[in-house]
């Protein structure tokens, strides 16, 4: 192990340059970080809220110039604290960490739920940047209600030549229902070259089961409690895999190996398995 390997991803601080309110509970934070500028869709970073906590976040966008954005839902103490932070506030960054979505072309399906849509939007943009000729994009995005649907303008933009299928549980926007309904209809009619998903794990589990039945290739992004972010502490283990290092993206074969935990249990702060 050379010096550079341990020193390569040390914590560095940066300032929030922009805050965008995406929905009543979700904000997007923009900042500069040259290391995360190299991030590929699906990777995550650790964001330090000085004096409060350090949390893992999927990367929503990373530009060559070094502008990074992440979307955060206010769910606990740390995220609520972050939601009170404004432009100019100092945060710390480590990363990018983890593997990334394997990019391909052809008939592509993306299924996002809640803030899980963030890395998929990054992926869709990247795929289209590389080739608009060989890609047919279908994006299913779900939320409980209209004002919780995220990135709808940007999604409309990336789906200009493709299909956008929004769903809301209460029918206030798009189809009424959940994302698995249009998914099943599509898989009954089409073969996809790649299906990507990220969102609540119960949703991911259902999508996994549906793609297994239809024998179609899935890549799913998972989330777990994280501490070190570098594959050492074991806090984010699911089956034999470390979500931070072997994941966060898992394929059908791997998801099948961890199906006894997927959507069912996770490690709690004390390391015991608890229901999701």
């Amino acid at each position: 192990m050379s010096d550079c390997l341990t020193a390569a991803n040390t914590l560095r601080t940066t300032k929030i340059t922009q805050v965008i309110t995406e929905s009543p509970s979700v904000k997007t934070y923009v900042f500069r970080d040259m290391q995360c500028a190299k991030a590929k869709p699906g990777q995550f970073l650790m964001l330090w809220i000085p004096g409060v906590d350090e949390i893992p976040l999927s990367i929503l966008n990373a530009t060559e110039g070094g502008e990074i954005s992440v979307s955060v839902k206010a769910v606990g103490d740390a995220t609520q604290h972050l939601h009170r932070m404004t432009v100019g506030a100092t945060i710390g960054i480590r990363g990018p960490f983890g593997n990334n979505f394997t990019q391909t072309h052809g008939n592509i399906l993306l299924i996002g739920g809640g803030t899980g849509t963030a890395p998929l939007l990054f992926l869709a943009k990247t795929l289209l940047e590389q080739s608009t000729e060989n890609i047919k994009l279908t994006f299913i995005v779900g939320a409980r209600t209209k004002n919780e649907l995220l990135f709808i303008d940007q999604l409309n933009n990336v789906c200009q030549k493709g299909r956008l299928i929004p769903t809301t549980n209460d029918g206030t926007y798009g189809r009424q229902g959940v994302v698995t309904e249009p998914l099943t209809e599509l898989l009954n009619q089409e073969q996809f070259d790649a299906i990507y998903t990220c969102g609540p794990e119960v949703m991911v589990k259902k999508i996994f089961e549906i793609t297994q039945t239809h024998k179609q290739p899935l890549q799913a992004s998972l989330e777990r409690l994280m501490r070190c972010g570098i594959g050492l502490c074991g806090s984010c283990v699911i089956g034999k895999y470390r979500v931070c290092k072997d994941g966060p993206i898992f394929n059908n074969t791997q998801l099948d190996e961890i199906k006894n935990e997927l959507g069912i249990s996770k490690l709690s702060l004390n390391g015991s398995k608890t229901p999701l």
Binding site: W48, D53, E54, G92, I230, G234, S235, S268
Partner: protein, 306 residues
């Protein structure tokens, strides 16, 4: 030729001389199985206490030049919650399972140790050296009387070998080691992390939520190596497991030459993956052949001989 890597350790026979260090990937049976498949000769679990503990709020790990500083805060499910996992690991691996134990009193160490042994632990490692949790760990391991009492109370209730993981944060490590051995310790793990701190210049504040933590990785290797050398000089008979910054076969061989019978590996897994054990095993084997040594055991303590 595989025999050349086999080592005997306080009555345990290890196929390979590299052991997973405590605190790393040691919660779940499947992760420990994966480490064994990566070439480890044994695994040590996360430290388990009497009651569940959530550990500290993040940041719990800071990457620094040539190492990591961590203050996890001994997160663990408590021995009752861990018994099932111990049994599960035993069903998955053939190599020895060493359960790391901590407590806030000698009675607690004894209760947890007994339950771990009954669940199937092949050996116990007493964590008397955690540098970042009050009233346990190094507060015990820095006091020879307390240390003797803890070791004796555990030895009274278990038959399996008892390892004592020593703290480097002491004036005279040999004095503490002698106290442990005289109280019945079967092996010494040398050493736990070095007390350390990291401060962020922008916010002017310590980074870890616990402020201070323990330094691991290459930055502390030569300190750990010196500890092993000192211990072997004064304690020629006891089994010693070197621990601290082992990242490649050269590091491992240095520890053997200083007097370690085996080595533990932790931090290197973050950068080299679980296969680091296989890579190190192969490197040691090549070294032994090139230098015409018959086995790892032949070179243990060799640097002391004139």
């Amino acid at each position: 030729m595989e025999g050349s890597l086999r080592v005997q350790l306080a009555g345990l026979s290890l196929d390979y001389p590299g052991i997973l260090a405590s605190g790393v990937l040691g919660y779940s049976a499947e992760s420990m199985q994966r480490v064994i498949e990566g070439g480890a000769g044994a695994v040590v679990t996360k430290s388990v206490g009497l009651h569940p503990r959530d550990g500290y709020v993040n940041p719990t790990v800071v990457q620094v030049k040539s190492g990591l500083i961590n203050a996890m805060g001994l997160p663990n499910p408590g021995i009752e919650g861990y018994v099932g996992e111990i049994k599960h690991v035993k069903g998955l691996i053939c190599q020895p399972l060493i359960v790391s134990v901590f407590g806030y009193s000698s009675e607690e160490y004894a209760v947890v140790a007994k339950k771990a042994a009954e669940a199937g632990a092949d050996a116990l490692e007493l964590n008397v050296s955690c540098p970042h949790v009050k009233q346990t760990g190094s507060e015990i391991g820095q006091n020879p009387n307390l240390l003797s009492e803890v070791v004796r109370s555990v030895k009274d209730v278990v038959k399996v070998p008892v390892f004592v993981k020593l703290s480097p944060n002491v004036t005279d490590i040999v004095r503490l080691a002698e106290a442990a051995v005289n109280a019945g310790a079967d092996a010494l793990t040398a050493v736990n992390t070095l007390r350390a701190i990291a401060i962020d210049v922008e916010t002017t504040k310590p980074i870890l939520s616990n402020i201070k933590g323990g330094l691991s990785g290459p930055a502390m290797k030569n300190v750990a190596l010196r500890c092993v050398y000192d211990l072997r000089e004064k304690l020629p008979e006891v089994s010693i497991i070197g621990c601290g910054g082992v990242s490649n076969w050269q590091d491992a061989v240095e520890f053997f030459l200083a007097g370690a019978n085996a080595v533990q590996i932790g931090t290197a897994i973050a950068f080299e993956g679980t296969k680091v054990f296989q890579t190190i095993n192969q490197g040691i084997k090549n070294y032994l052949e090139k230098k015409q040594f018959g086995s790892v055991e032949e070179i243990v303590g060799l640097s002391h001989r004139s």
